[in-house]
């Protein structure tokens, strides 16, 4: 189940605080991890940010091509957005602490997202 993958991803990565699986075509958050306790507005903002960073359809806000992975970091934290390999509208939105091990997290998240997206 999607939520099990999200919970496992959060539990396996120190600094991972909230995860949401979204559909870029409808620009909606579909599922969050079970510990997520964010109001709808926060989730909507997260989804909007995913659209801006990854691009929806062929629309690109920054760059020449739609991105496959985006990272936004400031002093308060890191947000990571990943697009599934085979279904470009399936994205994972991740809210994390500043000290996140980005390399390990992105590798783990990418693998789990592709599993979720393929229904494996």
């Amino acid at each position: 189940m999607v939520v099990d993958e999200l919970d496992a991803l959060r539990d396996a990565n120190q600094g991972c605080e909230m995860l949401a699986f979204a559909d870029l075509s409808t620009q909606m958050i579909l599922v969050t991890d079970t510990a997520a306790n964010a109001p709808r507005e926060t989730l909507d903002r997260l989804c909007n940010e995913a659209v801006m960073m990854l691009g929806a359809g062929r629309k690109v806000v920054l760059g020449e091509e739609p991105s496959t992975t985006a990272l936004v970091a400031n002093s308060k934290g890191v947000r990571v957005f990943l697009r599934a390999a085979d279904e470009p509208n399936d994205v994972l939105c991740c809210v994390c602490a500043p000290e996140l091990d980005v390399e390990a997290f992105v590798a783990d998240a990418r693998e789990r997202l592709n599993r979720i997206s393929s229904g494996a």
């Binding site: 920054l62 991105s67 985006a70 970091a73 400031n74 890191v78 390399e103």
Partner: protein, 252 residues
Amino acid sequence: MSDLAELAQKISALAAKDTVFETGARVISTGGEPSPIVAILNEIDDTILERDLEIQADGAIVNLIVSGRRLRGIAAASSGADDVVGHVLSREEPDMVAAAFVLLSELCGRAQRLTVRYLAPQPFGKGGERGISAKGLAALWKIDLDEVPKPPMERFLSTNRSAAIAMIHMTDGEMQSSAGDVTALQSILDTQLADFRGLQTLGGGAQLICLEGALSDGSAAALAIHEDDVALIAYQPDHLGALHASWRAILG
């Protein structure tokens, strides 16, 4: 400067409020500021009583035996250079002094974060072998202890030079520097950046935005913002982790 004034200055520096400790170790260099070798020499220069200075540099560890503001020698190192470890340094053995510099540079020279822990001294060499003073080592190793620190964005770009395919650095809208083929980056800068920053709701402060696959040649693009500085970087995607780690150490 008199010894007394210098001592007072060092005590003041040690008591500074911005000193940061991590799991009991004091942070002496972050994001290359000061440069790791300068940070190590400063610690040697601050050490009067004989101590084992355990320096941690990212994953590496090196133990220095220091006394009377002099480096007596390297007691242990997490890797390499058995010919240096355990030997007292002496000006009469310049090859050994040079090898110690190579070892410290290899283990610590590119570290994003250096910490020091003062441990009780361990038996090392003979009592009369005093080693070499920090200032003496600086002269032998051609290190400027009074180096003027580079601005943070310059340090960030310098740290990531090897990962960058191309980059543009602007301050207050004025071009500071560029490297590589910046055609794609310049186009982003000219046609997208203002709108992008207008859309952002992330608030002020330093930011790093990395977009994998954002450039038509498959490379990634990063936008780093710090105060009036803006940098656009084209880089290979496998450097994402390193780029973020250095941004956090220097600008975050």
